[in-house]
Structure formats: structure tokens, C-alpha cells
Amino acid sequence: MTRDTEDSGRTSLESARLDPALLEVLVCPVTQGPLKYDRVRGELVSHQLGRAFPVRDGVPIMLVEESRALDDDGGDSTS
């Protein structure tokens, strides 16, 4: 995976490829609640569910079995 360096101040290629129209309509598959896009980790975070869904090459993987519990490693990196 190619990414811009962390200190360049630009968004990563990963986030540039997540389509804004897609991001606008996506919700959590379980709670139907909002998702927050964590550009650094390349994850869509459902705080209501307490899980994060991976984004692979611009394709959100909205499968619970592929998602990560936020508590496993001290939560997500969004504020």
C-alpha cells in the first residue's frame, strides 16, 4: 500500500480513494447509526456499535465478522 508520509500534511492515497458519494450514504449495518471515517487507520468507525470496519483499496468492508472491536486496542484514533 502506497501512502503519503505522515508529516506531509496531506491526506493518504487510501482516503483519497474512498468515494465521497459513498461515504455520504453509508451507515452502520447493525445500528443504522452514523459512521466516522478514520483516515489514518483507513477505517469506518461505528461508535454506537463499538466496532470499526476496514476500508481496503477504497472498498469499505461492512461485514461484522471482518470488523474490529474498538476496545481491543484502546479505542480508535478519532477525537
Partner: protein, 302 residues
């Protein structure tokens, strides 16, 4: 984690996702049925006298439907969704794509001007539930246009396998998926709250040299048996050899080729909107039927 509501389970979604994932890399060698259904769906869309700026393609496979309908100029953007991440990844070459659960669509209510699904919904356990989700995703006057394999699909294969198993084992286990009957699925549209519902069915027959070629095609499409209740003991070679004989004896044409039937059911409905034609309220008629018929009205109670 919230507990999912209990729905009768016919399908094993993990096995289905595995089948689709295995089929994804070589799908273009086995996409003839999808291609046929895509062309028929695009023809229907071409007849609609309006545009659909934002659409969803549920069960997108490799993105074939989206590529076809984008050419027609009636659709703006299409978001593609598939339960197999491998298919979502290959559809991403066509436009935005996302991997989704079979029965939990991760989209906000009222997002889409149209929801399409081409040869996918026959793998859904809770079809009424998914149709209700589709209805919820539509904007007012949004279009639901979906096709799925119907109950007449693979009738010859089902019959041959059943007969061979009864002969050899004295019982039968389900080896092809249960499929929707046109009479049952027609009612789904109304039940989901979709207006102006239309259901119709098309038959296709594809001929094969033998049953094993047909079964290889079904695997290539990712459509092989994924029944939850399927027999856990591997099917014996003998069973399939006998079924192939029965298939040939019952159905082969003079040239020795065997037919395989596919039924494609297409459902069309619209999210309700005040501009749509609706039936008049009972009792609101301005003329008496009896007057128009030139007879006297009769009171059935009399």
C-alpha cells in the same frame, strides 16, 4: 453486539460468501446468465421516462450491470454492493463499491433514486425483510428493479438428483436451493409498501453435453448448493453418475445434449409518491354501473 432477530435459515451465508469469493476471479468465463439478465434489465430501464441520479446495485458481481446501465445515460452514479469482498473489489474498477452482509444493507434511509439487483436475491433467506430494506432506501417515487432466479430454475437437475438419491439411498437431501415461486414473490412488492407493482417471468434454456458440465458452470457462477441443511456426508460419485444417466434418459434431445432451464423473475415497484396513479376510494364513483349497463340495480340482501 446486538442479537440478530430469528429468521428461518435455509442458507449458510458463510458458505455462500465462500462460493462467491471462489467464483470472483474467474467469473468472466461463467457470466453468460448474468449477462443475459443484465441486458434484459437494461432494456427495461431504457423504457423508463425519467433519470436516476444516485442508484444502488445490490449483488453487483464484477460490476457488469453498472457498466451496462451507465451507457444508457439514465443513471448518474451507481453504488455497487456485494456480499463477497472479492466481487466488490473487482466492481470498484467500474465505480464506488462496498462489501455488505446478505441481509443488512448499510445505507441511510431515502438515499437512492433507484435500487437494482440482478440475479442475486434468490440467495436471501428473509426476502420480505430485504425488500422492506430496499423500500426504505428509496427516495419518494424511487424505482425498485430486481431480477432473481425463480422456482422453475434447474427443474431437470433437481428431479434427476432426487430420483437418483431415492434409488440409491432411499431418501433425499436438498442439493439445490429452494427458489421463489412467481406467485409468492409478486406479493412481496406490495407487502414491502412498493406501489405500481409488476412481476413477470422469463424462461431460458441452455443446453449441455452432460450434467457435469452444467454443475461446473454453476460453480463458476458461484451458484452451487449452499443450503444450510445440505447433507454433510460428501455426495458419492455413484450418486452423481446415476443422476447424470437419469438426466440424459429423461431430458436429452436427439443430438444427445441435455437442457437446463432457468427462470428469471423480474420485480418492478416504486416508492409511494403523490404523483402516482392510485385507485379511487370505494363509493366515490360518479356514475352508477347499473345505469351504464341499462339494467335495474339489484340488492343482494333483498
Amino acid at each position: 453486539m446486538t442479537e440478530a432477530p430469528t429468521i428461518p435459515r435455509f442458507f449458510d451465508s458463510a458458505a455462500q460468501r465462500r462460493n462467491r469469493t471462489r467464483a470472483a476471479p474467474g467469473f468472466d468465463g461463467f457470466d453468460f446468465l448474468k449477462r443475459e439478465a443484465v441486458l434484459r434489465m437494461a432494456d427495461r430501464l431504457a423504457l423508463m421516462r425519467r433519470d436516476f441520479p444516485l442508484c444502488l446495485d445490490f449483488g453487483c458481481h464484477d460490476g457488469m450491470l453498472t457498466r451496462e446501465i451507465m451507457e444508457g445515460g439514465k443513471v448518474g452514479r451507481v453504488i455497487q454492493a456485494d456480499p463477497a469482498p472479492a466481487f466488490a473489489a473487482s466492481a470498484a474498477g467500474t465505480g464506488p463499491a462496498v462489501a455488505v452482509e446478505y441481509d443488512a444493507l448499510p445505507f441511510a434511509a431515502g438515499s437512492f433514486d433507484a435500487v437494482f439487483s440482478c440475479l442475486f436475491l434468490h440467495w436471501i433467506d428473509d426476502l420480505p425483510g430485504v425488500m422492506a430494506q430496499i423500500r426504505r432506501l428509496l427516495k419518494p417515487d424511487g424505482l425498485c428493479l430486481v431480477s432473481l432466479l425463480g422456482g422453475a430454475t434447474l427443474a431437470e437437475l433437481r428431479g434427476s438428483l432426487l430420483e437418483a438419491e431415492q434409488e440409491l439411498v432411499g431418501g433425499a437431501s436438498p442439493r439445490t436451493a429452494p427458489m421463489a415461486d412467481i406467485r409468492d414473490v409478486g406479493g412481496l412488492l406490495g407487502r414491502a409498501g412498493l406501489a405500481l407493482p409488476v412481476a413477470d417471468s422469463d424462461r431460458l434454456t441452455i443446453t449441455y453435453t452432460d450434467m457435469f458440465r452444467l454443475m461446473a458452470d454453476l460453480r463458476g457462477m458461484g451458484e452451487q448448493n449452499a443450503l444450510l441443511a445440505r447433507s454433510r456426508t460428501p455426495a458419492r460419485r455413484q450418486l452423481f453418475l446415476r443422476a447424470a444417466e437419469i438426466y440424459h434418459d429423461r431430458f436429452a434431445a436427439p443430438d444427445g445434449r441435455i437442457p437446463a432451464s432457468f427462470e428469471i423473475i423480474t420485480l418492478t415497484g416504486w416508492a409511494p409518491h403523490e404523483s402516482q396513479q392510485t385507485p379511487l376510494r370505494p363509493g366515490s364513483a360518479a356514475n352508477r354501473l347499473a345505469d351504464m349497463l341499462g339494467t335495474a340495480e339489484q340488492d343482494p340482501e333483498a
